[in-house]
Symmetry: C2
Subunit: 299 residues, 2 copies
Amino acid sequence: MSIRGFELRQLRYFVAVAEEQSFRKASERLHISQPPLTRQIQAMESELGAELFMRTSRGVELTQAGRILFEEANNILMLSERAAERAILAGKGQLGRLDIGIFGSATFDTIPKIILSFRNAHPNVKVVLHNMTKWEQITALRERRITVGFNRFVTEEADIVLDTVYTENAMLALHRSHPFSRRNEIRFKDLRGQPLILYPRSSRGGFADILMSTCRDSGFEPWVAHEVDDVSTSIALVSCGFGLCVVPESARNLKLPGVIYRPLTDAKRLNIDLCCLYRRDDQSPLLAAFMDIVHSYGR
Amino acid sequence: MSIRGFELRQLRYFVAVAEEQSFRKASERLHISQPPLTRQIQAMESELGAELFMRTSRGVELTQAGRILFEEANNILMLSERAAERAILAGKGQLGRLDIGIFGSATFDTIPKIILSFRNAHPNVKVVLHNMTKWEQITALRERRITVGFNRFVTEEADIVLDTVYTENAMLALHRSHPFSRRNEIRFKDLRGQPLILYPRSSRGGFADILMSTCRDSGFEPWVAHEVDDVSTSIALVSCGFGLCVVPESARNLKLPGVIYRPLTDAKRLNIDLCCLYRRDDQSPLLAAFMDIVHSYGR
DNA sequence: ATCGGCGATACCTTTTCGGTATATCCTGAA
DNA sequence: TTCAGGATATACCGAAAAGGTATCGCCGAT
């Protein structure tokens, strides 16, 4: 007469009795003795207010109520097994959802490769990409909206781990008609007096600032022809002949009309690092699995 | 490290903690104290080999594994409630499947009405009709292939209950061109010397035998023009002018060209009873519910 | 009539579950 | 730094539930 419902053990017992059509055989299958089985079934019947089995001289047979419950019980037991299996998988980082913050200029080469590799290794994990700026990523990490972010030139934060994934060389994007296109070797100081396109415009401490201070370290003030928001736009401007643009190597995948790429031979001090960002206290197995993949990429 | 899976109680506890995001609040909602909750969740976690909650200073938060289990658990709990409800319904005869054996000549009036009425009262019961002869019905009842049968002139069987549902008058089916069609009153003995169509041909002790012995009781030997299997065929023969046919009243619903029906005014001794047949030991609530409907029909 | 197989019951043992008290950890404030 | 407050975890105990053994009662087959 209690209000609480069944227990799965009772459903397991019930299914065993229904399938064996015998309390005794079912008790052997369940490795218990027969009386507890009788008692559990009786408890279920009194809770339902209906008989589940017709006791005959040769064993038992399902009633209508029993037949209905039998269908439901099989389904429920199957689902409960699946639930445990899926939870275990999720605990190993092989199932679930991974929200990743990405940004412009690494979207064209490294990040797709990493994500592709991760999806092959963990096909049951749903990967969701969010395009967001550096600071949006930090905020989203703190608010648990993303689990991991990709960015460059990230300032240290106490609760965020920075993990350098990949260091790229700087390259110069220029129009085919520019005189530099015929030179074998372009050095950083050659940029003096050249119209430069800088990005990103908005955030301080980003690539644009690094580039400008590197220019000054090389002994000249850069001629900033344009400032734009992202690498795609800046390459588009290069394509129209607005000037030169220093980009990470991976930007070469952006092929626009007239745009060619040349190595900057002495740009070693310009470290263009791709970093992974994640919460220092994040113990998620999905993050660990993802970082494993990422590190297997660290050249 | 045990092999056995979850219990529903654990899933209920888990869902409460996940929804309240707090062991304490969940314990209040479940009307138990907090330590048992902690222990049950720990048991689940150790069984899964994965944490389900991240314990923070302000409460708890689901891990990936927890999120997966949460979805599954809600589904399973919902299904287990439904299972109990459906079993209870089935126990009351309001859910399930009812296999009914029917036969030819009552199919046209009484049986459809009864079944319609039953389906209105028990919309969740699936009614399956099986057209079978008297003896097929008896066998099918014994083998549990049907729960109830309809028939006429059924011989007593020890394990089968006969329940007379409805008593019909006998009528005479004849062709419009027959001389009787102009008479106001046709009496049984008027059938002397008339070509009669009898059915069913196959089974002994059926309507045909009853009719013949009734003729002999009235002092004449019937002229058996034809014997056919069922009432539909016999009416078809009447329609073609092969002769006369004594039928139950409900056969009037069979309208064929040229066939008219006339009362047999002194046929009272020809009881055409429609019987329900079911197993004497059948305690099924569906049968009880069906017989309730049937009896509410017994004029 | 008797025997054997089945489920039900009585009674006892073992396990599990829930409650109380307390420990431990973390955070926020003085 | 310390302390208070609120959170979960642990230790220990009593209560409830589950399982085991022995036995009963019933029914059908021999």
